[in-house]
Each structure stands twice: as structure tokens, then as C-alpha cells.
């Protein structure tokens, strides 16, 4: 497999190509410097100079070590669990036909957009003390207390992380898997490799770049996890991100927060570099395959069991919590105080109706349609920015020697930075410029793009690199111009990964909360912000409206994902 010929990479030789690479990278790097690095550096500067002579309360080593160790521990566990479910799921999607495939494909993408408040609510309405599961068990087994107690536990954190991140594996690894030349596996089989050995020796090495890419994204996602830890883990658990938030936002101990952010960034850089090393030069050309070439219906009993089992598992993990949430948005739970645990449920449209009324006459009331429009406009702009810049980076990187891809680190670093610091940094830096409301509004999709770009690049780049150079050479020999090669060879092959990457950008933007809460003007709130507004006031109507708005967000996301998938 390590035959150097035909690799995608060694296209760069002369200095002319280096200039070309730089030209391509200039704009994306400029974008990141202005909208990520300068704001972050600026915030660091503030942190150390703006303490007005207060003694800097030092944070002891234990104060760094404990959250750091826990951060690594839960991220490793979560990533491992995500792999255990995600790899077979990727296999399922890339190799088998089955009923409900399209729906399932859409479903697994939905969690990605859900703000943590909503996931926590969904989790609670399913597994919480009065969640459907506990209610059912209590009435079946006639218990007086809820039998399942997952609230504020490590298990809750892990389940939520798997729920969030499995889609990354399915999209990234699944798309690489379906592009894989089926003949290679067939050759392995002919040569006597059984299923498992074939996977280990043929398929896995071919999938390695995309698996590593997916692991990197998932690990960093878990590593910087914030909302899940806060809402589902409870006070017992604190990641670096949570400690940074407490130090900066609640204790106003900016130097300590800056030191911790520094530690987190160093860890992120180390992880990215390490993964790049691991990936090494293992890129193998993948001739583009017909769309459903490797697909088949499950044949043998073993395959049927696998497909059936996986489909059930995925429906259980992804559909049930979403259904619980939807159900909760149209149900009124009434407990009869005289009857202990007896409760009755009635269906009601009242929470949806209430969304359209400004009961308190507040100036901050936002009709749901408007919140939807804001979310969609921001998401569309984020897609445009991240696809455009991401394409430039991917093209530049595909022409670079992988050892010199320090720019990869530069571009991936935003993944390891807290959304809150990003939002704060942008706000502080651009606060001084008097540049009109239109551009101030642009900060929201810009922040979303900074986060979404690495996802786009990780999706597209492996595919771009894997296009055999011979294709381009043959075309060139036949007299095709560079632009024609791009149009007629590269683009058709890349079309699917580009769509998948755009989908990530779209969903990341729809669900982003941390940076948006800093940057969005109160008159243009996004749906996640509208949801969180409902949950700051007590009362059944507010809770119900939050559930209703979450359901709408989910439906919109599902419709968009479904539509984009259709484009394939």
C-alpha cells in the first residue's frame, strides 16, 4: 500500500507552486488573523494589564492539574465510545442499503445543531427523574421513586458526547468509505483475507486519514466541551473550559483565566501536531467510484443481524431523545397532588400558540418566524464564508508536503478555543471601530465560520488529496486547461465532500450559542438564543415554549439537512 507512485501529494516541486500555495492561503490566513488571532491576543493583553492594581491571585498547580486531567480523561473516554458506535455506523451507511436510510442519515445530523440547553432538556425529558423512561418504569413496576438516576454523572456526559459527535464519524469516515475502491477489498478477499483481516489490512489503512481527521475533530470537541459538562455533569465535574469560564466570568480573575486558556491552547496545538504526525504520508489515491458501487443489501445472516442491530441502535440513540423532546413540547404533565406519583398527560398546542404572543409587551419579544429567519440568514452567510475560504485552504494544502503543514495547526486552533473567549475577543477588538450596524451583524456569521472552517477543510481535504494525479496528467496531456481539469475532473469528484462540509458549516452555525450570545444584537436573536431566553423565567408556559422552539429548530435543521443530502 505504501507505493509512492501515484500519490496525490508530490505535486509541489518548483518555487512557482510555493507561490501559488501562498497565494491561495493568503486570504484564509488573513481572515483568521483578523477575526481570530488578533482578538484572542488582544484579550490576553487585556487580561494582564486591566487588573487595576489588584493583586493577581495565583492559581496553584493543583488548580490547573485537576481539571486538565479530567478534561483529557473524559475526552478520551468520549472519543473512544464515539468510535465504537461511529465506525460500525459509518460502515452501515457506506456499504448497505436498508429501509429508512435517508431518514436515519438526516437524523444523526440533527444533534449536531442542538444547543446544550436543548440536549439537556431532551435528556431530562427522556431519562430525567420525571422523564418518560422513569415514568414508564415507575408505573409498570409500581415504584414511588424514579429507578434511573443519571442526572449529574459521568455517564450523562458521555452519552451526550456520543449523541453529539457520532455524526462527525458517519459523515467523515462514511464518505471516505463509500469513495473507497471496492476492488481493493475484493482483491483482498480473493487473496484469502477474511472479513476482519481484510478490514485491518486493506480497508483500515485506506481509511486512516479520514478516521484520524474524525478523531481529531471529535476529541477537540470533547476536549473543549462546556455546556454538556455544565448542564449534565453538574458541579462535581469541571473541564478546563468550565474553569476558565468560572475564573473569567464569575470571579473576574482574568490573569488566572488567561493562564488556563494558554494551557488549553498548548494542549490543543500538541494534539493537532500529534495527529498530523500520526496521519503522516499515508494518503492513497482513490479513484472516484460510482455513487452506489459498493452498496448492497445485507446478504448473509451475519450481515442482516449487523444491519438490523445497528439501525435499531442508531434509532434508539438519535430518534428517541428527539421524539421525547417533541412529545414534551405538545404535552402537559399534570401531577395530582393527592395521588403521590399519579400523573396525567394531555396534548396541547398552547406552547406553540404562545410563541406568537408577546404576553408581557416586552421590547425583546421575538416572533418565532423572525428568530428562524435570523438563524437561517446567519447560517447561509457562514456557509458561504467557510466554503469559500475552506476551499482555498484545501486546495493549497493538497499541494503541500504534509510535513510543512504548520498552517494546518493555525487553522485548526480555533477548534480548541472556547466559544466564549472567541465572542469576547471579537467584541473587544471591534468595539473601537465605528463600522455601522450591518458589519456589526456580520460578526456573528464570521465567528461561526472561524469554528466551522476546520470542519469543512477536514471533510474536503482528504478527498482532494486522494484524487490520483494521473487523472489530471492524462487530462493535461489530452489538452485540457487547468480550469477545465478543475471543472471536469476535480469538482465532480469533490462535489459530495463539499456538500458534506457545507452541511457541517450550516449546522454548526444554526446551533452555535456561546459566541453568538456575545455578538448577536438583542433585536436579531438566533433560535438558540430565543430558547435560552425562555428558560430564564419560571413557569410552565416558558418551559413549554422553550421545548416548542427547540422542536422548531430541530425540524428546520432536519428539513435543511434532508434537502442538502438530496443534492447529492
Amino acid at each position: 500500500m505504501n507505493n509512492p507512485e501515484g500519490r496525490g501529494a508530490p505535486e509541489v516541486t518548483g518555487s512557482g507552486s510555493t507561490w501559488k500555495t501562498w497565494g491561495l492561503l493568503a486570504l484564509p490566513l488573513f481572515f483568521l488573523v483578523v477575526f481570530f488571532y488578533l482578538p484572542i491576543i488582544n484579550t490576553f493583553k487585556f487580561a494582564f494589564t486591566n487588573t487595576s492594581g489588584r493583586p493577581i491571585s495565583p492559581i496553584d498547580l493543583a488548580g490547573i492539574w485537576r481539571p486538565l486531567a479530567f478534561t483529557f480523561y473524559q475526552a478520551a473516554l468520549s472519543t473512544g465510545l464515539t468510535l465504537v458506535i461511529g465506525i460500525p455506523a459509518a460502515l452501515l451507511f457506506s456499504r448497505f442499503f436498508f429501509k429508512g436510510k435517508r431518514i436515519l442519515r438526516t437524523l444523526v445530523m440533527v444533534p449536531f445543531i442542538l444547543p446544550t440547553v436543548v440536549v439537556a432538556a431532551g435528556f431530562n425529558s427522556l431519562l430525567g427523574p420525571r422523564g418518560w423512561l422513569n415514568l414508564a418504569l415507575m408505573s409498570i413496576l409500581n415504584l414511588s421513586t424514579p429507578p434511573i438516576d443519571l442526572l449529574y454523572s459521568l455517564a450523562a456526559i458521555l452519552i451526550a458526547h456520543v449523541f453529539y459527535n457520532t455524526s462527525v464519524l458517519i459523515r467523515l469516515v462514511g464518505s471516505a468509505w463509500s469513495r473507497l475502491d471496492i476492488q481493493l477489498e475484493q482483491a483482498g478477499r480473493v487473496l484469502g483475507a477474511t472479513g476482519w483481516r481484510n478490514f485491518v489490512e486493506v480497508t483500515f489503512p485506506l481509511l486512516r486519514p479520514s478516521i484520524l481527521s474524525a478523531i481529531l475533530l471529535v476529541f477537540l470537541f470533547d476536549f473543549t466541551s462546556f455546556g454538556v459538562i455544565l448542564l449534565l455533569g453538574g458541579p462535581q465535574f469541571a473541564t478546563l473550559e468550565v474553569v476558565i469560564y468560572i475564573q473569567s466570568m464569575h470571579l473576574l480573575n482574568f490573569p488566572a483565566a488567561a493562564v488556563l486558556s494558554g494551557v488549553q491552547m498548548i494542549c490543543t496545538i500538541t494534539i493537532i501536531v500529534l495527529m498530523a504526525r500520526l496521519a503522516g504520508n499515508t494518503i492513497v489515491p482513490l479513484a472516484p467510484r460510482l455513487r452506489e458501487e459498493g452498496m448492497r443489501a445485507a446478504g448473509s445472516i451475519k450481515e442482516k443481524v449487523f444491519v438490523f442491530g445497528m439501525v435499531c441502535l442508531l434509532f434508539l440513540i438519535f430518534l428517541v431523545p428527539l421524539l421525547a423532546l417533541i412529545l414534551r413540547s405538545i404535552t402537559r404533565l399534570e401531577f395530582d397532588p393527592g395521588q403521590g406519583n399519579a400523573f396525567q398527560t394531555t396534548f396541547t398546542p398552547v406552547y406553540y400558540q404562545e410563541l406568537f404572543t408577546n404576553r408581557r409587551g416586552s421590547i425583546f419579544y421575538v416572533p418565532p418566524i423572525e428568530a428562524m429567519r435570523n438563524s437561517l440568514v446567519y447560517a447561509a452567510m457562514a456557509v458561504v464564508i467557510s466554503v469559500f475560504l475552506g476551499m482555498l485552504v484545501s486546495i493549497a494544502h493538497s499541494g503541500m508536503n504534509s510535513k510543512s503543514k504548520w498552517s494546518e495547526v493555525l487553522i485548526a486552533l480555533p477548534l480548541g478555543t472556547s466559544a466564549v473567549s472567541l465572542g469576547l475577543g471579537l467584541l473587544l477588538l471591534f468595539n473601537g471601530f465605528n463600522w455601522g450596524a450591518a458589519l456589526a451583524v456580520m460578526l456573528v456569521p464570521i465567528a461561526h465560520s472561524v469554528v466551522a472552517m476546520p470542519f469543512f477543510i477536514r471533510t474536503v481535504q482528504p478527498a482532494l488529496v486522494s484524487i490520483p494525479i494521473t487523472f489530471k496528467h492524462s487530462a493535461a496531456v489530452l489538452g485540457a486547461s487547468a480550469s477545465r481539469i478543475w471543472r471536469e475532473i476535480t469538482l465532480p469528484i469533490l462535489w459530495r465532500p463539499i456538500l458534506a462540509g457545507a452541511l457541517f458549516a450550516f449546522t454548526i452555525s444554526l446551533g452555535e450559542f456561546g459566541a453568538t450570545s456575545f455578538l448577536a444584537r438583542p433585536e436579531f436573536p438566533t433560535m438558540p438564543i430565543a430558547i435560552s431566553r425562555f428558560l430564564t423565567v419560571p413557569g410552565a408556559l416558558n418551559y413549554g415554549q422553550a421545548m416548542a422552539m427547540s422542536t422548531l429548530l430541530m425540524l428546520i435543521c432536519a428539513v435543511c439537512v434532508f434537502a442538502i443530502d438530496r443534492l447529492e
Binding site: L231, L251, R360, I363, S517, T536, G539, L541
Partner: protein, 349 residues
């Protein structure tokens, strides 16, 4: 590429569309920086806008701590003209940072002395709220259990596993409750109380949202604990936002001596504002009767102006504490970090 350009143009036109709808005439603007819980009625604010020929823009971000943080970090080059939402737990820190210009409102003499904690007049009190333990009335009634009336009561065996409290490092009601225990038991005794509370099965949540909606049995989340640290005004909100509508509150507050902590929220003119005169007028406006009477239903806090009429739900169901725990802002500013750290070491480890 062509599609991208069309898409981009479409987005801009959408945005341009919603912008032009927002501001038909260019009136001078006044920017108010505040926290997420801030709200005001359309009618009340538009009256101020008309009288002063100004457009008021609100910038919100996060809870009180996050919003103040933003104001401190933008010192000298403020995001706006007025800041609303610094409370007595953050007051000293805010004054120390020197982010406010002094201003004495002409309406200040109608505000009781007890609320005027800043003798330098950099900030003006606007509203207050009591952080109290809320309880599920039906839960206690069906079990024939007496509702606890003091902090000490909470450590009795009959109340084991019944209380959920927010993390004082993250949540502002959580911090207020911690301060109430420090005020009542003293610096030497409060950790002992918390140890006993922990032995009695107190449940810890990170923020108000989880504690109230996930753990509290009387909320729509229908959790397991019938007591939660929330606000004295929460029972009123439970009636106003009830579904199905109801005549009485499902919850009530425990308002015994020292069981509640009083939070007072202040507003100030941000130093560096280009609009100091208008900003002063806005502070006056916040102390005017129309704004003060708007506070309860918009923010679920109480007006500092004693003459302001309260809505019926408040007078019926939301009882303020007669003897809330109080602590002077300097003591809080000096010790908050230490108390939070000690609490974390004792309770979470």
C-alpha cells in the same frame, strides 16, 4: 461560484431589509449595556424615546457577571452609555475598576436609604430581589410535613434529600444563598453548616436553569427535590406563566429570618460615554414611576421606589423577606473568591 454570489447577495438583501425596517429616521442613539434578564415594555421605553428624541439600543450578554465583565474589559472605550445590572455582590469590584461616572439622579430622594449603598453616587439603585428557598406546596401538604423556616431546619433528618442548590461559583442565586449562610453562621460557622447540609443529602446543580427546571418538583421539569434556591418572585411567575391557568401559586418562598439574601441591582453612566446628559436622563427614567412599575412583570424583581404599585400576582404570591440576610459590598468583594474556593473545597471534593 455564481450560486455562491447569488446566495450572498440574497443574504445581504435580507439583512438590509430587516435593518431598514428597524430605523426609519436617524435619531441620536443611547446604548444601554445590560444582562440577559433585562426587559422593558415597548410602551414604557417608547415614551422615553419620544420625550427625548432618542433611539435606545440595548446590548445584552450573559448573566450579571458576564455583562459586568464586558463593561470592565471595555473600560475607557465603553460599548455604550449606560450600564444596568451590577448587583451588590459585584458592586465593590465595579467601583474599584472605576468604570462609572458619578451622577446624582433627581429622583434619588424617593429611594429608601437602605438601597443607597454607594455614597460616591457612581451607581444608582434600580431594583431588588430576594433570593429565597422556594418549596412545592402540594408536596409538603400531601406528606403532612412542616415547611422548614430556618437555615438550621434544613439539616434535620426529615428534610433529607429534599433541597437543590446552585453552584455559587457559577450561579448568582447560588452565590447569594452562600452569602446568606455566611451572614447567618459567620465566617467560622458557615462551612460547618454546609458539611451538615451535605450529609443531609443536599443536591448540587450548576445553574438556576438546571436546578429549577430539572430538579425542582413543582416546575414543569418535575424533578425530585421539593425545595430549590430561587427568587421570592418565582411563585408569581409560576402563576403568570401557568399552564393550564391557575388561581393560586404551586410554590411559595421560605422567608424566615436570614433565610433569604437581598440582591440590589444598580445602574451607572459608563465613563467615556459621549452622551452623558442623555445617559443621566435614562437613569432618572429608570427611577420614574412608569419604569419602576414595569419592573416586576418584565424582570421579576421589585422596584426600589416604595410608591410603585405591584401587580396583583406579586402582592398575592410573592412575599419579600422581612429580615433578609445582608452584607456590605466591601466585605463581599474582599472575600467572595475565598468563600467560593473554600466552599468548593469542602463540598465538591
Amino acid at each position: 461560484m455564481k450560486h455562491l454570489i447569488i446566495l450572498l447577495a440574497f443574504c445581504f438583501s435580507l439583512l438590509a431589509g430587516c435593518r431598514s425596517a428597524e430605523s426609519p429616521i436617524e435619531a441620536p442613539t443611547l446604548t444601554v449595556v445590560t444582562h440577559d434578564s433585562f426587559s422593558v415594555s415597548e410602551g414604557v421605553i417608547s415614551k422615553f424615546e419620544q420625550e427625548n428624541n432618542v433611539k435606545v439600543i440595548f446590548l445584552k450578554s450573559g448573566d450579571a457577571g458576564v455583562a459586568l465583565n464586558k463593561a470592565i474589559l471595555t473600560k475607557g472605550n465603553p460599548l455604550g452609555d449606560v450600564f444596568f445590572g451590577v448587583d451588590n455582590t459585584f458592586l465593590s469590584r465595579a467601583l474599584e475598576e472605576g468604570i462609572f461616572s458619578p451622577y446624582v439622579s433627581s429622583n434619588l430622594n424617593s429611594v429608601p436609604e437602605a438601597f443607597q449603598l454607594d455614597s460616591t453616587h457612581q451607581v444608582t439603585p434600580v431594583d431588588f430581589g430576594d433570593v429565597c428557598i422556594n418549596y412545592d406546596i402540594a408536596w409538603f401538604e400531601t406528606r403532612g410535613l412542616n415547611v422548614p423556616w430556618s437555615l438550621e431546619n434544613l439539616t434535620y433528618p426529615e428534610y433529607k434529600d429534599l433541597l437543590v442548590v446552585e453552584n455559587p461559583a457559577i450561579s448568582s442565586p447560588g452565590l447569594a444563598f452562600l452569602l446568606a449562610t455566611v451572614a447567618h453562621f459567620g465566617e467560622d460557622g458557615y462551612l460547618d453548616f454546609w458539611r451538615r447540609l451535605k450529609d443531609n443529602g443536599v443536591v448540587l446543580a450548576n445553574d438556576w436553569n438546571s436546578a429549577y427546571y430539572t430538579n425542582f418538583s413543582a416546575s414543569s421539569g418535575r424533578g425530585s427535590q421539593p425545595m430549590v434556591v430561587s427568587y421570592a418572585s418565582s411563585p408569581a411567575a409560576e402563576v403568570i406563566f401557568a399552564d393550564p391557568p391557575r388561581k393560586d401559586a404551586p410554590t411559595a418562598s421560605i422567608t424566615g429570618k436570614d433565610t433569604c439574601f437581598r440582591q440590589i441591582e444598580f445602574a451607572g453612566i459608563l465613563k467615556g460615554s459621549q452622551n452623558e446628559t442623555l445617559a443621566g436622563k435614562f437613569i432618572d427614567f429608570m427611577l420614574s414611576r412608569s419604569f419602576q412599575e414595569d419592573i416586576p412583570l418584565q424582570m421579576f424583581m421589585y422596584p426600589v421606589y416604595p410608591g410603585a404599585a405591584l401587580p396583583a400576582e406579586f402582592t398575592a404570591f410573592a412575599k419579600t423577606a422581612e429580615e433578609p440576610a445582608m452584607m456590605d459590598p466591601e466585605t463581599i468583594a474582599k472575600n467572595r473568591e475565598k468563600w467560593i474556593r473554600d466552599w468548593t473545597e469542602t463540598i465538591l471534593k
